[in-house]
């Protein structure tokens, strides 16, 4: 069960994320995108989901990652992402509820480039009963 104390809190990611051209190239190859100068719109999930897993499974937060299902996803991209970008990430647990034994957690991830907010991503994650 998620710790009730963690709801409404913002957790910083541990390390900055540096986007490599090789990572963009690999992502573009899957979807058949030949323009690799800008990352595809869902590319930052690579960073945000890894960050969520690290943060949400910390002992003080306590989510069970092994029974997780992805409910929905939203991105707002203020600045297109490209190779060489360095992001500092935070994850905010916006809401939490239990329905029919399933835990439903809404998490927002903000990617800052310096002082500028580049991408916000919202995920609803469901831990199945």
């Amino acid at each position: 069960m998620l710790s009730p104390d963690s709801v409404g809190r913002t957790f910083p990611g541990t390390d900055p994320i540096i986007v490599s051209q090789a990572d963009i190239d690999a992502f573009c190859a899957v979807i058949g995108d030949t323009d690799t100068t800008i990352a595809p719109p869902t590319f930052t999930i690579r960073a945000t989901l890894a960050q969520f897993e690290e943060i949400l499974t910390r002992p003080e937060v306590g989510l069970d990652w092994s029974r997780l299902v992805h409910g929905d996803q939203k991105f707002e991209i203020f600045t297109p992402v490209k190779a060489g970008d360095e992001f500092f990430c935070t994850a905010t647990i916006e809401s939490y509820r239990v329905a029919a034994g399933n835990e439903i957690v809404s998490v927002r991830s903000d990617l800052h480039k310096g002082s500028e907010l580049a991408v916000s991503a919202w995920s609803t994650l469901v831990v199945r009963a």
Binding site: P41, Q73, K74, E76
Partner: protein, 131 residues
């Protein structure tokens, strides 16, 4: 001149086990439900399923193509309502269409539809692109 209500062309993507492996490596999501049939069935799934985010990435390609590049995409969201089931040795479709829902001076909003085998797999799929 693009107007609200316009229906955009259909694009069909194909998914197979090799693409799921490729996406797992590109995204870092190595959950075995997307690669290992025995494991997927053991947790109550009908078969190996595609990553929801792979489905969304392919629909994102449709959005980027319409927008004239990924740099033009401002917002993109979807709900994962049904899995895309990918049996061994098969290629399954992901069929994407869209309707223009709003046209403003600086942006266009799209309402997207994604189906696989005729079944709707994404709900509330929307995008906003710069014009």
């Amino acid at each position: 001149m693009i107007e609200a209500g316009a229906v955009l062309g259909e694009q069909v993507f194909y998914l197979d086990r090799a693409l799921l492996k490729q996406y797992a490596d590109a995204s870092g999501d190595q959950n075995p439900i997307h690669q290992n049939e025995e494991f997927a069935i053991s947790v109550g799934l009908p078969n190996v399923i595609a990553h929801g985010m792979l489905t969304m990435a392919l629909v994102g390609k449709y959005v980027s193509d319409f927008a004239g590049g990924s740099a033009q995409v401002r917002e993109f969201s979807a709900r994962f309502i049904k899995p895309v089931i990918v049996p061994a040795g098969q290629r399954v479709d992901l069929t994407v269409t869209a309707t223009v829902s709003e046209v403003l001076d600086d942006r266009i909003a799209l309402s997207l539809t994604a189906t696989s085998g005729g079944i709707k797999v994404l709900g509330m799929a929307k995008a906003v692109v710069r014009r």
